[in-house]
């Protein structure tokens, strides 16, 4: 019975991953990260992704803070933040977030505040979607590990 649960979870995870790839939310770099997991580092992907979330949210807050300032003019600083976000997003395979950042950067290079505001909204939206889906994925993975750990009959 439980074996069926593990298989079901795995199938659901694969389905979710396939969807995210199909949507272009994730790319092959994410697969590369999965290949780096093994017994010595079984949670590598979630560890790196959590660092990514933590750092990205700081950057997103900075970006919003810059743009909300009515006297904002430091497009260069905005570019620096965006470069960081572009780099880390590409390192984990967050393709759509990365691409939105690239357009955002283009808007900042044109010193277009309106363009930047629009790009920021889109970025926040994409980021939220990515975060939610990856959380879902990790939750399923945790359940799968738990389910796989239960043995019948119980050991004691």
């Amino acid at each position: 019975m439980l074996g069926w649960g593990v298989d079901r979870l795995r199938a659901d995870m694969n389905r979710l991953l396939a969807m995210l790839f199909h949507q272009g939310v994730l790319d092959e770099q994410f697969l590369q990260l999965q290949q780096l997991e093994d017994e010595s580092s079984p949670n590598f992907v979630s560890e790196v992704v959590n660092i990514y979330f933590h750092e990205s949210e700081k950057l997103l807050r900075n970006l919003r803070g810059l743009l909300m300032d009515r006297e904002f003019s430091d497009y260069k600083k905005m570019g620096t933040h965006l470069n960081q976000l572009i780099g880390s997003s590409s390192s984990i395979g967050a393709k759509r977030v990365r691409n939105v950042c690239v357009s955002f950067r283009a808007a900042s290079e044109q010193n277009s505040r309106a363009g930047c505001l629009r790009a920021l909204e889109l970025l926040e939206h994409e980021y939220c979607y990515l975060k939610n889906k990856l959380h879902e994925l990790f939750q399923m993975d945790q359940l799968r590990v738990l389910a796989a750990g239960v043995t019948y009959p119980p050991q004691h």
Binding site: Q32, L33, Q35, I86, G87, S91
Partner: protein, 247 residues
């Protein structure tokens, strides 16, 4: 005798009585494991490169800035030593012993000191200029690549860095290290070197990548299309550039 490195290498010292880092050392484990210094201001990227290197059987020390790297190497102190009456150019003359590394891999875009500036400082140093330096960057700007290669970078790798990139680097490094140690020492068994050289030439050509990676089929690689790999390419540092079209 104390360890030469800041980062203590506990499992190593269990196997050896004393840390002998000379080229003629009989400690094969020391020789086989490549120690890489990874420099990147991004925490995410540091985690990834660290894992890539560890999985490729390299020892890794990761640092978040060029200044941090120079400090670890003992180069900052070296500069001060040179200004004084000390005439020795080796880092052993400094009161502070730096980290011994075989390869440095650094991000290009970093605040404070860029990877390019770090590269320059290393190549300007008499004690460290022999260490191969690899530059990573997510922006493949030709001018940037040229500038780095001209300054003496071994290679320029496009981010995101993949396992195949790291394995290729390690294989290349291992092959050239043997050649370098032969050139500097006369006691090495030349036949043994020739055998391993032949093995390396058959396994290192990047167009025949042994590790299957999801991306190996798709992106056009400047490397496999332009630079034909030949045995002689292992003698001199080849200026190989890997370009990946990300989208």
């Amino acid at each position: 005798m104390g360890s030469n490195s800041i980062v203590s290498n506990r499992w190593m010292s269990e196997k050896m009585n004393c840390l002998d880092l000379s080229p003629n050392s009989n400690s094969d484990n020391e020789e086989e494991e490549v120690h890489v210094l990874a420099v990147d201001d991004s925490f995410v990227d540091r985690k990834v490169i660290e894992r890539l290197l560890k999985i490729s059987s390299c020892k890794v020390t990761a640092v978040d800035s060029g200044w941090g790297a120079l400090k670890l190497l003992g180069l900052l102190d070296d500069e001060e030593e040179d200004k004084s009456s000390s005439s020795s150019s080796s880092s052993s003359s400094a009161g502070f012993e730096g980290l011994k590394v075989d390869l440095i891999i650094t991000d290009y875009c970093m605040p404070g000191m860029t990877g390019y500036e770090l590269l320059k400082k290393i190549k300007e140093s008499s004690s460290f200029r022999e260490i191969p330096v690899v530059i990573m960057s997510s922006e493949n700007v030709m001018a940037r690549i040229d500038r780095c290669l001209e300054e003496g970078a071994e290679e320029f790798i496009a981010k995101p860095v993949k396992l195949s990139d790291v394995k290729r680097l390690r294989d290349y490094y291992m092959a050239t290290r043997e050649i370098r140690s032969v050139q500097s020492s006369s006691n090495v068994n030349k036949r043994k070197l020739q055998e391993s050289f032949d093995v390396s030439t058959s396994s290192s050509p990047p167009s025949i990548s042994p590790s299957p990676s999801p991306s190996s089929a798709s992106p056009p690689s400047l490397f496999s299309s332009s630079a034909p790999c030949s045995p002689s390419s292992l003698d001199s540092p080849t200026r190989r550039i890997k370009m990946t079209s990300f989208d």
